[in-house]
């Protein structure tokens, strides 16, 4: 059973607060495509965190991964800073929900899963960047291989 205090949590306020935190390094807010991408992911994470607290199932891996795609390429946030943003969200939600100490501990415990998922996602994103760099190198090698292959065939066809 969700307490009344939770029902009254201002979801919009929480989401906006967190998106602002994600964009803290921007002196001028970026275009809405970027903001709405983060907003959509933030909404899913906030809703999912509440569901987990209520004991329901929630798969947040995709939404957390979306946020991490952004943070993992933001050179102003290190890995620790990126994870801290999730801890900040946890604390802000707990405040907004007016949770007492015991409830707060329970909420933090359920939120841990999201933080672990976030850490995994951050690592995957960084690996993806290097994987893409490697793929480009491999594609260049493939082009070189084709160049040699086609050139030798064109020479042999002229013999």
């Amino acid at each position: 059973m969700v307490p009344d205090s939770q029902k009254n949590m201002d979801r919009k306020k929480v989401v906006e607060w967190w998106v602002d935190k994600l964009l803290v390094n921007y002196p001028v807010k970026p275009v809405f495509e970027v903001v709405s991408f983060l907003q959509e992911a933030a909404e899913k994470i906030v809703d999912g965190a509440l569901s987990l607290y209520e004991g329901k199932e929630a798969d947040l891996s995709d939404a957390v991964d979306d946020v991490m795609r952004f943070l993992a390429t933001d050179r102003n946030f290190g890995p620790g800073d990126s994870i801290r943003l999730f801890c900040d969200l946890r604390d802000f939600m707990a405040d907004e929900l007016n949770l007492r100490t015991e409830e707060r501990l329970k909420f933090a415990k359920t939120f841990e899963e999201i933080i672990f998922t976030a850490f995994d996602a951050y690592m995957v994103c960084r690996e993806k960047i290097f994987e893409l760099r490697l793929k480009e190198k491999e594609a260049n090698l493939e082009i070189m291989r084709k160049i040699m292959d086609y050139a030798s065939r064109s020479l042999s066809s002229q013999d």
């Binding site: 970026p30 050179r75 102003n76 290097f130 160049i147 030798s152 064109s154």
Partner: protein
């Protein structure tokens, strides 16, 4: 109605202008371009001043009098280019450009705002070339030229793709891309060149194309293309290379010879050229000398740009062609539309002059009479864009197409910056796509046409060491693609630019949008019915990727 806040607070998140004058000391990996090696800038074919020294960003090994050389080069640029001088003086820092730059949108770095990027140089200009700056120093927004400032210039002026989206929104029309171009040239005077672009410039100086392909490699690639087309269409096709007396010289970006998905576009070119020759007698030749439409020199310096594009008019004259068709390349069109005729003399041979006195294709092939190049967006300097050309062929009903051959594709179109903003070719590619396929959807209006978002990898930014920057720079474009992917089920992103075709596959992968990348000429090639060869619409079984055209029917049949 929302409640009014009790107190309105204005928070300044943007650093003050005096703060902005302090050079950054930390240069992030993923955004810092590698510096050229001697083999790229001190070769027999491409020599830059002080290019014989191997440099590291921590130790620039600058020439002793670097400051004097820098300021002399800046002075010369100011004196020779009135637009540049104007851009140094006129900015009022209104900030209209700030959130229009993809690199700012992507990185959130204040110095990536076009206004701030240009200010990095303006502050030096004020210090050394204006009375106020000389007298009042930083109070007048001026700063000394130091090695730290120099590093900052290299760092930020190599975080711009020269896409010119900012200039579209500038009330004064300040072209930050032009400022970037000149700064890169000035930096090259003291030995600071960006590695990725000089690899291609050196290769193109040496062999005629960015890939460094020798004639045999190019010949072999085109031959391979014809063999693949035989498999897909059953037709015996041919093409010309270095043919003297051909009507047209065709110049493509060299990536089309080998890279994927560029390759499918090349197959499209070959089909079209065969149909036009067989049906109308129009002969089109490739050249192993002018084997590159792109020009990385246009990202680097005037001299490099001039060196690379000089070969094409020379080759047009040597082969005696009447005009040139250019393929699917982005910056090629900035170069060919805006630079080439001021850097090199157009061909002077008889066939060229005669054709351009009355540029009606009927003068070369009677069946094509009525297609005139007088008012073409791309035709100004003897060059015709392949898509503008195809649009005309479709408009005049000179080729037959079967749209249903592209029915498995639901496409959207990305306007390359230099084609849309640089040349104004906006409706023609869309006209072509609507005529060769049934499912085409544009991305939101503010992200396309002259306002198009950048791919994040042009202007020399396709370097792998800049992958972080590229993935953030492309983010706005990717979000717009994501929108049409969700709304219409788009499954292919089409773009007539070789750099886009290289940048979008990793970008789509990173931003988790599972769609393909291709070029409009691939769709034209699929839809083109080779009537001159007796082909009927239903005859074609495979698309240019070698996949069955009618997958569902085939599966049901089984």
């Amino acid at each position: 109605m929302e409640e009014m806040p009790e107190k309105i607070e204005i928070r300044q998140k943007f650093p003050s202008w005096r703060e902005m004058l302090k050079p950054v000391k930390e240069f992030e990996e993923g955004r810092l371009s590698y510096i050229s090696l001697p083999k790229q800038v001190d070769s027999e074919f491409f020599k830059m001043p002080f290019g014989d020294v191997e440099r590291d960003f921590d130790d620039l090994k600058l020439p002793e009098n670097w400051k004097e050389i820098f300021l002399d080069a800046l002075k010369e640029t100011l004196e020779k280019n009135r637009s540049f001088k104007l851009f140094m003086d006129i900015c009022v820092r209104c900030g209209a450009c700030a959130d229009k730059c993809h690199y700012y949108i992507g990185t959130g770095d204040p110095k990536n705002m076009p206004v701030a990027r240009a200010e990095l140089l303006r502050s030096i200009y004020r210090r050394y070339f204006t009375p106020a700056g000389k007298l009042f120093g930083e109070w007048a927004g001026a700063r000394e030229l130091t090695e730290d400032v120099l590093k900052e210039l290299y760092y930020y002026f190599n975080q711009c793709s020269l896409c010119r989206r900012c200039s579209l929104f500038c009330p004064y029309g300040i072209d930050t891309a032009e400022i970037v171009w000149w700064v890169r040239r000035i930096l090259s005077r003291i030995g600071l060149n960006q590695r990725f672009m000089t690899i291609s410039i050196e290769a193109s100086s040496r062999t005629g194309n960015h890939l460094g392909l020798l004639p045999g490699g190019m010949y072999g690639a085109i031959q391979q293309g014809l063999e693949e087309l035989k498999d897909y269409t059953g037709l015996d096709l041919h093409t010309y290379i270095n043919k003297k007396g051909a009507d047209v010289l065709f110049v493509a970006p060299s990536a089309d010879y080998f890279a994927t998905p560029h390759w499918y576009v090349m197959l499209g070119y070959l089909l079209l050229f065969n149909e036009l020759e067989e049906k109308y007698g129009l002969t089109i030749t490739w050249s192993t000398y002018a084997s590159e439409g792109g020009n990385f020199g246009t990202f680097h310096s005037y001299e490099a740009a001039q060196l690379l594009n000089s070969k094409i008019y020379k080759e047009a004259e040597r082969l005696g062609v009447s005009f040139i068709i250019g393929g699917e390349c982005g910056h090629m069109w900035r170069d060919k539309h805006q630079f080439i005729n001021t850097m090199n003399q157009p061909p002077k041979h008889e066939e060229w002059k005669k054709f351009w006195e009355n540029p009606d294709l009927g003068e070369l092939a009677e069946g094509l009479r009525g297609i005139r190049f007088d008012n073409y967006a791309s035709g100004e300097h003897g060059w015709i864009h392949i898509l503008e050309f195809v649009a005309a062929l479709l408009e005049h009903k000179k080729i037959t197409v079967d749209k249903s051959r592209n029915d498995k594709w639901i496409a959207t179109y990305h306007d390359p910056c230099n084609v849309a903003r640089g040349m104004g070719l906006i409706e023609e590619p869309r006209y072509v796509l609507r005529n060769v396929m049934n499912h085409f959807y544009d991305m939101p209006e503010h992200t396309i046409k002259d306002k198009t978002y950048c791919c994040g990898a042009g202007g020399g930014m396709l370097a792998d060491e800049l992958m972080d920057l590229r993935m953030r720079g492309v983010m706005p474009r990717m979000m717009a693609v994501r929108h049409v992917y969700r709304k219409y089920g788009v499954n292919i992103l089409l773009t007539p630019c070789a750099i886009d075709k290289a940048q979008f596959p990793p970008a789509l992968e990173y931003w988790k949008i599972p769609i393909e990348v291709g070029g409009p000429m691939e769709m034209v090639g699929n839809a083109l019915v080779m009537t001159a060869f007796g082909e009927k619409p239903e005859d074609r079984q495979f698309d240019l990727r070698g996949e069955p055209l009618r997958e569902e029917e085939g599966e049901e049949g089984e």
